[in-house]
């Protein structure tokens, strides 16, 4: 039977490069035997991974904040451009249940927690922002 040397070389390449059966201990031993300072490398590699993961986590948190803001804009429109009167009307509609029971309860809770002076425009805007962001969770 004639041999297929091309396929045999491919098999040899794949087999020699394969590490699927190697345990962490096997890997450590082999590299150390070749003169690699395994612990030093793992320390350096670990630092790269940690720093990268921190970057990813920060990015995810930022994306979630952006998403929450976006969701608020979708529900009530852009609150930044609304006048005080419009904000008050919007808050009244929420408090009266026009946006559902969940948001109504959130609005009522805000009212209960507020004691004393009149609500400022900035506070009102912030309440609506929080209520709509919470609705998107």
């Amino acid at each position: 039977m004639s041999k297929n040397y091309k396929q045999a070389v491919r098999n040899l390449e794949t087999w020699l490069a394969d590490d699927s059966q190697m345990s962490l201990d096997d890997l450590r031993k082999e590299l150390a035997a070749e003169g690699v300072d395994v612990n030093a490398f793992l320390g350096r590699f670990g630092a790269v991974v940690r720093k990268g993961i921190q970057h990813q986590l920060k990015k995810t948190a930022q994306e979630e904040r952006e998403q929450a803001k976006q969701s608020a804009r979708q529900l009530f429109g852009d609150l930044r451009t609304r006048t005080r009167k419009e904000l008050e009307e919007l808050f009244d509609r929420v408090r009266n249940g026009l946006y559902g029971e969940e948001l109504k309860q959130a609005a009522l809770a805000r009212c209960r927690n507020h004691v004393g002076s009149e609500v400022s425009e900035a506070e009102l805007r912030s309440w609506l922002d929080d209520i709509s962001a919470a609705s998107g969770e």
């Binding site: 297929n4 020699l16 394969d18």
Partner: protein, 199 residues
């Protein structure tokens, strides 16, 4: 990058790091012949630099994981690509290699693994590679290694197949594999040096 990919990298970082380093050294030695893959690579790099750069690229969004493929496979491909880019930079700028690296002239290869460029291989060349392994001092005369090479020539692909064909245990096959891996850079250096010296 997805949270499950992050979690995998975090929880398997030692294993992933060592596998990548092993792969980088293997490619550097067999594919490019750079100082046997054990010392410095061209342009003042070393295999550790390349491995760290690859992972850094993914974690800092220079490269992106494809969710359809395994993380390790993608990291190894990226590693291969970085080494290739290093090789291209050496060629493009004619940066001199280390003085002791006479066997390390940059070459163009199409595939990973031993670095065999299938586009220029003649039918006879495939067989020659096995003969070069047999001629290597660490392999020559070793009856067990001869049996392993014969089994692969006959179509065996993995350790259990080779064990079946040779009658040896799978554990012994893995021991013998280490010897062949050790011989591979020298074999490939001879192979790439030129067909005129081949049998």
């Amino acid at each position: 990058m997805k949270s499950d990919q992050l979690e995998y990298l975090k929880s398997h970082q030692q294993e992933v790091g060592l596998k990548l380093l092993r792969h980088a050294r293997w490619l550097a030695a067999t594919k490019y012949g750079w100082n046997g893959g054990t010392k410095s690579l061209p342009l003042g790099k070393d295999p550790e630099d390349i491995v760290c750069a690859v992972v850094d690229d993914y974690l800092n969004d220079v490269r992106h994981f494809n969710p359809r493929h395994g993380i390790e496979v993608q990291l190894k491909r990226a590693l291969s690509s970085k080494l290739w880019a290093l090789h291209r930079r050496v060629e493009a700028h004619a940066v001199p290699l280390e003085p002791e690296s006479d066997d390390c002239a940059p070459r163009e290869y199409a595939a990973d693994g031993l670095g065999v460029d299938e586009t220029v291989m003649m039918e006879h060349d495939w067989k020659v590679l096995f003969e070069l392994f047999r001629e290597e001092p660490d392999v020559k005369g070793d009856e067990e290694l001869e049996l392993v090479l014969m089994a692969i020539e006959d179509g065996a692909e993995k350790a259990p197949d080779i064990a079946d064909q040779t009658g040896m245990s799978v554990e012994r096959i893995y021991e013998l594999k280490k010897k062949l891996r050790k011989a591979a850079p020298k074999v490939m250096a001879k192979f790439h040096k030129g067909a005129e010296t081949l049998p």
